[in-house]
């Protein structure tokens, strides 16, 4: 039994700390907002120019001037502030955001991340992803462990080296997949370490579905994932 999308989001929420400023990407990362522990003060940043993102509006209360980075209608909170996109990315690039949780196509054992472009296909652009992974203090990737093609074949996504064009080189600290959790020593030479297994998943299953080399240290908190 692998983790569901919700379970992956719940696991990612364990990386939150009281007082954190956090940027959540589109997809499973957005769900992390549903798992912020009660009483924990976390401010969500939206890179188009907002800090203190509130929930989706009630029907009929949508404001076209109030959207998140996924262009969805949202609401404000008593803690909200608005600013320009230049100030917003000053916050991001300047290392003022504590945590970025985002999706990925490929992650390499050295922390390289690819999530914006597949050569030969229509490329929509990187948006703010390159700035986020370059500037945010801690980068957590949440993704399916393997890519499933329409014909049912599976391609590994955790690789010894990314084959797709990079979003950032040596930027990922932690990878949460449906099968487990890996810590990455992105600044050093420690590579990738499997630190948790999803319920009912075995080390052997993960080995079979992971192209990247990795160490195993289950049940230990590795240095790189400490807050």
């Amino acid at each position: 039994m692998a983790w569901t999308r919700e379970q992956m989001a719940a696991r990612a929420a364990k990386e939150l700390r009281d007082g954190f400023y956090v940027n959540l990407g589109i997809g499973i990362p957005t769900l992390v907002a549903n798992f912020i522990p009660k009483g924990m003060r976390v401010q969500l940043q939206s890179e188009n120019g907002m800090l203190g993102m509130g929930p989706f509006p009630f029907e009929g209360e949508e404001d076209p001037d109030l959207i998140n980075a996924g262009k969805q209608t949202i609401t404000e909170l008593p803690t909200t502030s608005y600013f320009s996109s230049a100030d917003s990315f000053g916050m991001i690039r300047g290392g003022h955001i504590d945590l970025s949780i985002l999706g990925a196509m490929q992650v390499a054992a050295n922390g390289d991340l690819a999530n914006w472009m597949i050569p030969g296909k229509m490329v929509k652009g990187m948006g703010g992803a390159m700035d986020l992974v370059a500037g945010v203090k801690k980068v957590v990737v949440v993704m399916e462990h393997v890519a499933k093609a329409k014909d049912g074949t599976e391609e590994p996504k955790l690789l010894s080296a990314c084959s797709l064009p990079l979003t950032g080189a040596g930027v990922v600290d932690l990878v949460i997949t449906d099968l487990g959790v890996f810590a990455i020593d992105k600044k050093g030479t420690g590579g990738m370490t499997l630190i948790e297994l999803a319920d009912g998943v075995t080390e052997d299953e993960i080995k079979a579905k992971t192209e990247a080399p990795f160490k195993v240290a289950l049940g230990q908190a590795p240095r790189s994932s400490a807050a």
Partner: protein, 245 residues
């Protein structure tokens, strides 16, 4: 000095020429100067380069200028909410330069502030750094990016006075303030036109020095790209939580 023009067409009359570079504010369809974009379309100018985070959607915003094939090149961070864009790009009619969103914002800010280039860690080790100078500062690698300055900027503001002092509303601010500073000629459309003195000087986002011309667009049609709501009966949910319906 009263900078107000009767309408968008009059404000842009004689300004837009073939081959110009134009900045257009907005993020998605939020805070786009739609009325000024329509007037650029009506000017008939061709071979334009647009600097804008996105390229609108089919039939809205810069999507209008794709229909008329007036855009030769886009400098953007994210496109493709737009079938016509993909079509023209894949057929080679349209040139595209991708910038990371923060790099794009900073290039515009720098251009407006008289800074020709700067170093950023965004994009180091990626194809974005190809052909650009990479330099080490304090043990870290940074890539050099150039400031951007345009012939014309078109921006959208919530409120403006006749002097060109502007106030933006919520996330409709986005790229508008930097773009207002980074062109030879900035034209703003404002939803509410007021007299000088009616805006608290402490609350002005863009000082009037940057704005050369102003148009009052009292009832702009604001579109929502991703209408997302939560059910009324749901109890207080944490930040940004809720079901998409």
């Amino acid at each position: 000095m009263d900078k107000v023009y009767a309408d968008a067409r009059t404000a842009l009359a004689g300004l837009v020429k073939d081959g110009m570079t134009i900045m257009a504010g907005g993020f998605g369809l939020c805070g786009i100067p739609d009325t000024l974009i329509e007037a650029i379309r009506d000017s008939g100018a061709k071979n334009l380069t647009f600097i804008s985070n996105n390229a609108g959607v089919d039939g809205v915003g810069l999507g209008l200028l794709l229909e008329t094939r007036q855009i030769r090149k886009m400098i953007s961070s994210y496109v493709g909410e737009n079938k016509l864009f993909a079509q023209q790009y894949l057929s080679g009619e349209l040139e595209l330069e991708f910038n990371p969103q923060g790099t794009l914002a900073e290039r515009i800010r720098a251009g407006g502030a008289g800074i020709p280039a700067f170093f950023t860690k965004t994009g180091v080790g990626t194809i974005i750094a190809d052909g650009k100078e990479v330099r080490e500062f304090d043990g870290e690698q940074y890539v050099m990016e150039r400031g951007l300055f345009a012939d014309i900027s078109v921006v959208h503001a919530w409120k403006g006075d006749r002097e060109g002092n502007l106030v933006y509303r919520k996330t409709a601010r986005n790229f508008n303030p930097m773009m207002a500073t980074a062109a030879k000629m900035t034209v703003a459309q404002v939803e509410h036109l007021v007299e000088p003195g009616e805006i608290d000087p402490d609350c002005i986002h863009t000082p009037g020095i940057f704005v050369k011309r102003l148009v009052h667009v009292s009832n702009p049609v604001k579109r929502i790209e991703q209408r997302t709501t939560r059910k009324r009966e749901s109890a207080a949910t944490p930040a940004a939580a809720g079901e998409e319906v």
